[in-house]
Symmetry: C2
Subunit: 141 residues, 2 copies
């Protein structure tokens, strides 16, 4: 397979990853991103590998992993293939947390919808006043 190795300016990297320039620099500063290659003028040139890793970071970040834990994962990756077991353990734990997060969102969303339904009933009754109907429980808010 012919690996077309590309190189990206900071602006392009930001565009591709959705992280801001400042965030990319910040990630490099704290070691979440390994020191990025530079051109003669000292400007960053991101590689495909960098972008791949940033994709992973985005995935973890968007699922709520704190930076401290991403750093732990990054260290494992850098340590080499011996750490794959540990990486799986870490990612599986995270997967379970994501699952829990979704479950909790669904649950609260259901409550939210009940509330909306309650308000709708109130509105329906006030539009068509008929003394026989009644919305059961008064609700907070």
């Amino acid at each position: 397979m012919l690996d077309a190795v590309s190189v990206y300016t900071p602006g392009q990297a930001a565009e591709e990853t959705g992280f801001s320039l400042d965030t990319l620099r910040y990630y490099e500063r704290i070691g979440l991103l390994e020191p990025v290659e530079r051109n003669a003028a000292g400007q960053r040139r991101f590689s495909d590998e960098d972008l791949g890793w940033l994709g992973m970071v985005r995935c973890l970040r968007d699922t709520g992993m704190p930076i401290a834990e991403m750093l732990r994962f990054a260290k494992l990756v850098r340590k080499g293939d011996d750490t794959i077991n540990d990486r799986v353990t870490l990612l599986e734990a995270h997967d379970r947390e994501v699952e829990a997060q979704i479950a909790q969102l669904r649950e609260k969303q259901a409550a939210l919808r009940r509330k909306i339904g309650y308000y709708r009933d109130v509105l329906a009754l006030s539009e068509t006043p008929s003394p026989c109907e009644r919305v059961e429980e008064p609700q907070p808010g």
Copy 2:
């Protein structure tokens, strides 16, 4: 229906709602919670209504609504029944955001699981070395 009106100490309210004492005081301070009743000694006594509202707050907070927006909602609630339409609008918008959040989590979770699967394949191959199998794409991390 016989409303057994209860009253709760700050400690009990914290217990019931899962918010810390400091958070309850903070919410009152910023106006997310209306000024709570006091006993002769000036200590807070939370009502069932307070707890009900705090339940709503917990639901909104746990689904990621920022405090500023909860304050907007709180103001509508205080303004009275004329605002029920606005409240529905606000909550429906929030419901859509929750939906989007869940969708995004599911999507990223799928990527996460592909990654875990990839690692598992790598592990399986290194345990049972057989040169015919190959894990397709090298992955970042």
